[in-house]
């Protein structure tokens, strides 16, 4: 049983560009959350998707958007990249009603 998978592993982009990160949840999980982890910090909640709808959003600007597909996989899009967007982006999934989330290995985004 595959856990949470994310692609790509690493990404280098230039300021002002746009990026799309992808996540496949653990089998049987229907809820996907995205987190941003800056160096030396704990992960910060970006948003959560359930039934293809954004259910809650953290304190991130509208440049951050997402999508969930009918197979529960998800994308995180970031527009107009800033240097400060450089971070590890983590996807987490859970089954409905459960508190414990399972995290993927993350995508390391570097903005130059």
């Amino acid at each position: 049983d595959a856990g949470v998978t994310q692609s790509p592993t690493h990404l280098i982009k230039t300021r002002g560009q746009q990026v799309t990160l992808r996540c496949s949840p653990k089998s049987g999980h229907d809820t996907v959350s995205w987190y941003q982890q800056a160096l030396g910090q704990g992960p910060q909640f970006i948003f959560q998707y359930y039934e293809e709808e954004e259910r809650q959003r953290g304190n991130f600007p509208d440049r951050f958007s997402g999508h969930q597909f009918p197979n529960y996989s998800s994308e995180l899009n970031v527009n107009a990249l800033l240097l400060g967007d450089s971070a590890l982006y983590l996807c987490a999934s859970r089954a409905g009603g459960m508190n414990e989330q399972y995290f993927g290995p993350g995508t390391r985004l570097t903005v130059t």
Binding site: V4, S33, Y35, G40, Q41, G42, P43, Q44, F45, Q48, R55, Q56, G58, L90, A92, N99, E100, Q101, Y102, F103, G104, P105, G106
Partner: protein
């Protein structure tokens, strides 16, 4: 404002001894707490959790204690093993949607 705080950035413990990792929170509305372990180049891995209606939860070598009056929780690892060396994050849930993480404590278990 940091609602979940891990004030010790790092901790070194001898193999076989007890490791105690601490976490403080400010919001009394948090109703569920979790501990995650993170190795380099991997995502956080769930360790153990506790509901706010309990004060202790145990799973093998790992025990989490919750002191609601002090808004403090701790993770005890007994006995500590070199494979436990990792960064440990505590997380709190203000409802059912998101985690609020602390900044992490790097544990090093010395052989």
């Amino acid at each position: 404002d940091q609602q979940v705080k891990q004030n010790s950035p790092s901790l070194s413990v001898q193999e076989g001894r007890i490791s105690i990792l601490n976490c403080d929170y400010t919001n009394s509305m948090f109703d569920y707490f979790l501990w995650y372990k993170k190795y380099p180049a991997e995502g956080p891995t769930f360790l153990i959790s506790i509901s706010s209606i309990k004060d202790k939860n145990e799973d093998g070598r790992f025990t989490v204690f919750l002191n609601k009056s002090a808004k403090h929780l701790s993770l005890h690892i007994v006995p500590s093993q070199p494979g436990d060396s990792a960064v440990y994050f505590c997380a709190a849930m203000p409802g059912t949607y998101k985690y609020i993480f602390g900044t992490g404590t790097r544990l090093k278990v010395l052989a």
